[in-house]
Amino acid sequence: MRLLTHNMLSSNIKGVVNGFPLRIEAEKVLEKNVEMNSDFLKKMFEKIEWKAFVEASRGMGYTELPEEADSSMLDSDEFLNRFHHALLELHLEEGALVCPETGRRFPVRKGIPNMLLHEDEV
């Protein structure tokens, strides 16, 4: 699972109000190179929740993203490179996503988060 996916997922347990963002517990992170597409990044910048994204990247052990960002930074290649790397090249391979409200852990195995709910959570 990559951080773009993480940025659009919310805890889905019944009764949870603030299920976003899921906290990342990383046991194993993989890096895979992807060609950079700056038009795509510019479009995504508008849609990403930045704070959650930065937090998630730190959870994955990547600390190069600035706390705050605005669209003027998209003119900088260095910024784009970092944004690209964190958004599309880091994969959470083993670990868990944790509901911020209840602490319920959704395990991630072989890169696939298991978001299935127990009967009493639906």
Binding site: R2, N7, M8, L9, N12
Partner: protein, 210 residues
């Protein structure tokens, strides 16, 4: 990528070794799947450089087709872990970076208008009544650009009404009618192959909010 080449790649994918009846597990054949995604890309520009989600991905066919046509990010979701494992191996085999999630489509909660296009071949609802429209309802909430889906031709009016009236679609259009050979996977199918008419739909969601 040419249509023939796309179809060839899709034909090489591993499919459900032990299909589960209650989940309506049968693959979209390479012929239909390649045309579905080719049309989405070449007539509507809904695939390349986009974020695409595959609902009920099974062994991955539709999402893989999107990735082969240069979708920037593909997220494929299924409730069944065995299918997901095969799907992820299929993607790896073709050296595609894709994301997979195990979840019931009905239970996922989404943030923001990140997904552009949803592609799916949902259960027709023959085992669990209404499953087709439940999938459509969920897809219409997630996609900001378009939803592509297959539904039995016999349900055409019903699907159109639900899309426009209940799910707020801006448009609901049948792009083509197809013959779908559902192989005899299940004992209750009497004939060797059950050939049914299905529609390929394209829906546009109302301007996105969430």
């Amino acid at each position: 990528m040419k249509l023939k080449e796309l179809e060839g790649h899709l034909g090489s994918l591993d499919q459900f070794p032990n299909p589960k009846i209650e989940l309506e597990q049968y693959p979209t054949g390479p012929h239909i799947a390649s045309r579905m995604l080719f049309l989405a890309e070449n007539s509507y520009d809904d695939v390349s450089n986009k974020v695409v989600a595959d609902f009920g991905c099974g062994c991955g066919t539709l999402g893989i087709a999107a990735a082969l046509l240069n979708a920037e990010h593909v997220l494929s979701i299924d409730v069944d872990p065995e299918s997901l494992e095969i799907a992820s191996l299929n993607a790896e085999e073709l050296e595609l970076d894709m994301d997979f999630i195990q979840s019931n489509i009905m239970d996922l909660r989404w943030r923001g208008p990140v997904v552009d296009t949803v592609i799916m071949n949902p259960p027709f609802g023959t085992r669990k009544k209404g499953a087709d429209l439940e999938f459509l309802s969920a897809a219409m909430k997630v996609a900001s650009q378009a939803v592509y889906s297959l539904h039995k031709t016999s349900t055409r009016d019903h699907v159109k009404r639900a899309a426009l009236r209940d799910f707020n679609a801006r448009s609901a259009e049948v792009l083509c009618e197809l013959r779908y050979d559902v192989p005899k996977l299940y004992k209750f199918h009497k004939k060797k192959e059950v050939d049914i008419a299905v529609d390929l739909w394209r829906f546009e969601p109302a301007s996105h909010q969430s």
